[in-house]
């Protein structure tokens, strides 16, 4: 079971992601956060396998939220959700500790594939 925390300040994106992922039996959405601050505290509480993180949010942006999550849990798997034209920011988030990214507009197959692979990442290494 892949447990996912969705972080995005736009309800539309959160809903889209939820609709895409809900259909899959092996994916469980454990929470939704609409701010970076909530994301950090929810991560601590829920300990999801994967976090989808919106790159730009008001107040605390995605990168800062990643920084805080990673410093609390270096093994956290954060996947940035970004739009085109933000490559430099994506790179910065990778340097901060994000392990993957998805570019909008995204499609269900892609999203599920990326998130599952990301979740499975460490497990493969351990076996």
């Amino acid at each position: 079971m892949v447990r996912v925390l969705i972080v995005d300040d736009t309800q539309f994106i959160r809903a889209s992601l939820r609709l895409m992922l809900e259909r899959h039996d092996d994916i469980e959405i454990v929470g939704e956060a609409d701010t970076g601050t909530k994301a950090v505290s929810m991560y601590q509480r829920l300990k999801p396998d994967v976090v989808t993180m919106d790159i730009s949010m008001p107040n605390m942006d995605g990168i800062e939220a990643v920084r805080r999550i990673i410093s609390a849990d270096p093994n956290a798997k954060v996947c940035m959700i970004t739009s085109m034209g933000k490559e430099q920011v994506v790179k910065e988030s990778i340097l901060t500790g994000a392990k993957g990214f998805i570019v909008k507009p995204f499609y269900e197959d892609k999203v599920v594939d990326v998130l599952k692979k990301l979740a499975g990442k460490k497990e493969e290494k351990n076996t």
Binding site: F12, S16, L19, E87, V90, G100, F101, K117
Partner: protein, 534 residues
């Protein structure tokens, strides 16, 4: 997307976008009232961008187009220095069109609003973008430097695996720069990357990468392990791994050594995060800091003078707070800068015992050398400048100050002479002194030498006290061998010592007693922040 889903999402889209438009309205009103500012523009841009993203997902092309153009317009506004109200008007008009488009959706999914008029207006304002040529083709041969060759050789000898890893992205892959960074990060956990091709791929963006890149990796992992660790990364078409064997210099078609490639290092894991900074740069910062302090003090004065007339005004408190913050910030800045400039003398002084030992050995004398005040901190610039003078003084103490063993025996002194280097600090000055228990300087001989060399008239000489007389040792004329033997005091380079110390705004003092020893002190004003170049 199923109809049901689409309907649900459309609902959310309409509600949320309406709210976002309201937010933009408020920001626009603020700007209309108070004037343009970058914070507001960025906020509006962010919201417009968000709407665009959602519109794309829902295939609402018209909204997507309009918001895309709005973004460009806003970016243009944000980067131009002068915008008149007519441009801001256009933004308001965009908002009107957006409302119309939303209404279209609400009414049944067919866009009836024609947005071409507004698009034309925007196109008229925003300068044309230059078309970028993306047809870069990367060279197929991997070039390595001679140093790289050596590193590979060493790795092969150590029985590690050396792989040429070639990554090909899918044809329409996007954000290849970010993707490459992910790949590099993963591979760095597996081993050591010598070089990438194109060079420094971790700095590249999508446009810089044509269809892939390659790299040389040293690792103890297997080929399969490499492929597995990259498995979770999206949009990779192909990973090819060639093993680099011992004969790679002659027999490998993929690799070529180039004499012209310099040695470079990809960021290694435990890199010391330091940079070399010229002292002049720090000085510039310090001077600017002083300027800022002056400005702040002026501000404080103005605040004081306003206080009586405006004490009821709530802004006075806010102003005071800001001034206090500035003060704190200044203090912290000063601390950081001092920290950069100051280091303990110990680092530099640690070389002196060995120097003295060497000088002593060559002279055949017996000398005991001690240092005091190692932990004192000084401006690095000053430390650097006094090293040479100290070396001079130490050399002189050994060569001319301390007597040979036989002579010391005759005089009834301890057979082992003593030289001490000490650093002391008080509020205003740092005193660095070299003291020996040797011959001392005979002041009369100094007087005679000065007269005979024509450096001073008899009359002038009679006016000088002992202290000032001794100072004549620093005159260039005294630095010759015959004079040295005459006064049996100091030797070559004393004038150099004085010049160097004076450049630091300091002075040199001599205390001496015949047959007891000499102490030469360099007194330097302790101005930590600015290196004093005169």
């Amino acid at each position: 997307m199923s109809d049901n889903k689409k309907a649900m999402l459309t609902d959310i889209f309409l509600k949320e976008t309406a709210q976002q438009l309201q937010n933009i309205d408020k920001l626009l009103m603020d700007m209309d009232h108070d004037g343009l500012d970058s914070y507001h523009i960025e906020e509006i841009c962010r919201i417009v961008h968000s709407i665009k993203g959602a519109a794309n997902m829902m295939d609402f092309e018209e909204i997507s187009k309009l918001t895309h153009n709005m973004e460009e317009l806003l970016q243009y506004i944000g980067s131009s220095n002068q915008i008149d109200n007519s441009v801001l008007d256009i933004v308001f008009q965009c908002m009107d069109y957006l409302e119309l488009l939303l209404a279209d959706i609400d009414n049944g999914n067919r866009f009836t609003t024609d947005i071409s008029p507004i698009l034309e207006k925007i196109a008229y304002i925003v300068p044309n973008k230059v078309f970028k040529d993306n047809s870069q083709r990367s060279n197929s041969v991997f070039r390595i430097s001679e140093y790289d060759e050596k590193v590979i050789d060493d790795a092969i000898k150590r029985k590690e695996n050396v792989y040429l890893v070639i990554i090909e992205f899918m044809p329409n892959s996007i954000m290849k720069g970010a993707r490459s960074l992910l790949i590099i990060n993963q591979l760095k956990e597996m081993g050591h990357i010598i070089r990438t091709h194109p060079d420094q791929i971790e700095k590249a963006l999508d446009n810089d990468i044509s269809n892939g890149f390659s790299l040389i990796l040293i690792t103890s992992e297997s080929r399969q392990a490499i492929i597995d660790c990259l498995d979770y990364i999206d949009e990779i078409q192909n990973i090819t791994i060639h093993v680099i064997e011992e004969d790679f210099k002659t027999n490998n078609p993929y690799i070529e050594t180039s004499k012209h490639l310099s040695t470079r290092f990809l960021f290694r894991q435990n890199e010391r995060r330091e940079i070399v900074v010229a002292i002049e740069q720090i000085d510039k910062i310090v001077r600017l800091l002083f300027e800022l302090t002056d400005n702040r003090q002026e501000l404080e004065q103005i605040y004081s003078s306003l206080l009586t007339a405006h004490s009821a005004d709530g802004n006075m408190d806010k102003l005071e707070n800001v001034i206090q913050q500035m003060k704190k910030c200044h203090q912290r800045l000063e601390e950081v800068l001092m920290d950069i400039r100051i280091c303990t003398v110990e680092n530099v002084f640690s070389r002196f015992p060995r120097l003295v030992r060497e000088l002593t050995r060559r002279s055949g004398k017996k000398v005991d050398f001690t240092m005091e005040g190692n932990t004192i901190k000084m401006d690095k610039a000053i430390i650097e400048k006094i090293v040479d003078p100290i070396i001079h003084l130490l050399r002189n103490a050994v060569d001319h100050g301390i007597e040979p063993v036989s002579e010391r025996e005759q005089k009834g002194k301890n057979l082992t002479g003593h030289i001490q280097l000490s650093v002391e600090k008080n509020n205003d000055h740092i005193v660095i002194s070299v003291k020996d228990d040797g011959r001392g300087i005979n002041i009369d001989k100094v007087r005679k030498a000065a007269l005979s060399r024509g450096m001073v008239t008899e009359q002038a000489l009679s006016q000088l006290n002992d202290k000032d007389t001794l100072q004549m040792i620093f005159k260039p004329g005294f630095s010759t061998a015959d004079v040295i033997s005459e006064i049996s005091g100091r030797g070559i380079g004393m004038d150099v010592v004085k010049t160097n110390v004076e450049r630091l705004g300091g002075t040199v003092e001599i205390e001496t007693a015949e047959n007891q020893g000499t102490k030469i002190s360099m007194i330097i004003p302790a101005k930590y922040c600015l290196s004093l170049e005169k």
